[in-house]
């Protein structure tokens, strides 16, 4: 299922373009803020939770997910270069599967890893808060990658729709409107963080662990399946 050439092309496309700047800038910002907070206020679990929950999980992870997920296929469909992948004796599902793995790898490296580092920097992983948020960021990376990859196959405006979802739904409604929280990848992933950190750490989620993990699985598998389907019937005509 995994195709090394498709993976190589996708990595180069993701890390070689201007959009790669966002991939580097956001984690860097998190680490700088974490370092500054640690230097000025010292170790503080409350501040750690606020920074990792409020910025890393609510903003950085979905944004990196949008960049990696849509960027793994959207630009190729937009400029027509995807034809060089499609006009090959290669299963469309293996193209999607490979691109999904690349998007997940990039999202994990640029969001879960910096989250872990920032957590250690902020409070030395006291109460497992750093590990808990990093695990949540990693599982959220998987679901975001699948959903935004799908978005890249269905819309030419994938980045805009993705940003609206990430910034308005996840970051804004996700923290204000209770109903929206239950349909939020962030909350599903936090159910796992809550479990990892234990009750004293103060990490909470609006959904239970089983529900959260089930919904993450459904979103990931469903998104990937539908993206493969879209690619199988992708038509490149209509330019006349």
């Amino acid at each position: 299922m995994y195709n090394q050439t498709v993976a190589r092309l996708t990595y180069k496309a993701l890390l070689g373009r201007r959009r790669a700047l966002i991939l580097f800038a956001l984690p860097l910002l998190l680490l700088i803020v974490a370092g500054t907070v640690r230097a000025t206020t010292g170790m503080d679990d409350e501040v750690t939770r606020e920074l990792l929950g409020g910025f890393a999980m609510a903003t950085m992870v979905p944004l990196i997910g949008v960049v990696a997920g849509t960027g793994a296929i959207g630009p190729e469909i937009d400029d027509g270069s995807v034809v060089y992948l499609l006009a090959k004796p290669l299963r469309r599902s293996s193209i999607i599967f490979t691109k999904l793995l690349v998007a997940i790898a990039v999202t994990v490296v640029f969001s879960a890893v910096p989250t872990l580092l920032a957590g250690y920097l902020l409070n030395g992983n006291s109460q497992q808060i750093a590990v808990a948020y990093a695990v949540a960021a990693a599982v959220a990376s998987v679901a975001y990658s699948a959903l935004f990859l799908l978005l890249g196959t269905v819309s030419r405006h994938a980045v805009v729709i993705g940003l609206v979802y990430a910034l308005i739904w996840e970051a804004l409604f996700g923290s204000m409107v209770s109903g929206a929280r239950e349909l939020s990848v962030q909350q599903w992933a936090l159910s796992l963080a809550q479990k990892v950190a234990g009750s004293g750490a103060g990490i909470t989620s609006d959904v239970g662990l089983t529900t959260g993990l089930t919904l993450l699985l459904v979103a990931t598998v469903g998104g990937t399946w539908y993206a493969s389907r879209r690619l199988r019937t992708l038509t490149l005509a209509g330019e006349e």
Binding site: N3, Q4, T5, V6, R8, L9, K12, A13, G16, R17, E76, D78, D79, G80, S81, V83, Y84, L85, L86, A87, K88, P89, L90, R91, R92, R232, T233, L234, T235, L236, A237, G238, E239, E240
Partner: protein, 305 residues
């Protein structure tokens, strides 16, 4: 040796019929798909390339359907019209990636051979973003040839090329045809098709308008009735003199334009008769201009032919 069959095929997008009940076979050698812009050429090429299902009818390669059949790409090399082609790669990386995607036993050797065929070895280590239009086209060709396909499909391959690049590509395609490959390219320029293709298929407004060698198509185009707009010192007298001659099928006095609209059926004779009759009757000719020389109007005669 492979043959592409298009059998009673139509394709529509919503209410727009792009391809209307076309039947044709594309056999080994070079075939030119000729038609004005918007005639349905790209839709046909997209169906032949497996990127679009026919709404009705069938499109097959040696009797195997092409739509949703990835195995067909072992035999098909595709040169799309669109420019997108991984600009951040070098020419070498791009062609090599195409060879790998075909799962060739020795992708590097295949890439080397394909780049040599299009004479791009010198520039193969430069990024595609730095290539000229002609170089991009040649690298696209190399990527289409890398797996030694028996069918080559090219959508408007000469667009934007300078005359030298055009000649090089024509030479290459001619060679591919001579080797027994089935080469189909689309174009809206008759001269382009005439220079290269041994066989021409003409498509106008989604319909299959004509088929044959270029001499037959040329004759159809020049034998059609020609329309002229003529202004003279005595339009009525000129009209009466012209209508008596067999080269003219109809004349209209256009009051608003203050001119004659003439339909000539024998183009060669008409051009000789008009000045002679004017001289004999002492009429001065002010304007003689063909009024329907646009490509679309030329093609529209073929639909009726």
């Amino acid at each position: 040796m492979s043959t592409l069959h298009i059998d009673r095929t139509s394709r529509w997008f919503g209410n727009v019929v792009a391809v209307n009940d076309i039947t044709m076979d594309i056999t080994p050698g070079v075939t030119g798909l000729l038609g004005p812009n918007g005639a349905g050429k790209s839709t046909l090429i997209n169906m032949l390339g497996g990127f679009l299902p026919p709404s009705t009818g069938s499109v097959t390669l040696d009797s195997t359907p092409i739509w949703r059949n990835q195995e067909a790409y072992k035999e098909i090399g595709l040169v799309p019209e669109r420019e997108g082609m991984y600009d951040f790669l070098t020419g070498w990386d791009f062609v090599l990636a195409n060879a790998e995607l075909h799962r060739l036993p020795d992708p590097a050797a295949a890439a080397r051979k394909a780049l040599a065929t299009v004479e791009m070895e010198q520039a193969q280590d430069r990024k595609i973003a730095t290539y000229s239009k002609g170089m991009r086209q040649r690298v696209k060709m190399a990527s289409a040839l890398v797996h030694d396909p028996s069918v080559l499909l090219l959508d408007e391959p000469f667009n934007g090329m300078d005359p030298r690049q055009r000649m090089q590509l024509m030479e290459l395609l001619r060679r591919m045809g001579d080797e027994g490959r089935t080469v189909l390219f689309s174009s809206h320029i008759l001269e382009e098709v005439e220079q290269l293709a041994s066989h021409i298929e003409v498509v106008v407004a989604g319909r299959h308008a004509a088929s044959g060698d270029f001499r037959k198509i040329r004759r159809l185009m020049t034998d059609r009735p020609h329309r002229y707009l003529v202004r003279s010192s005595d339009d009525r007298l000129l009209a009466s003199a012209l209508i008596a001659d067999a080269s003219t099928a109809g004349i209209e006095l256009d009051y608003s334009e203050k001119a004659l609209r003439i339909q000539a059926v024998d183009f060669g004779r008409f051009t000789e008769v008009l000045p002679r009759l004017a001289r004999e009757h002492g009429i001065r000719l002010y304007t003689v201009s063909p009024s329907d020389e646009s490509l679309e109007s030329v093609f529209s005669y073929l639909v009726a032919a």
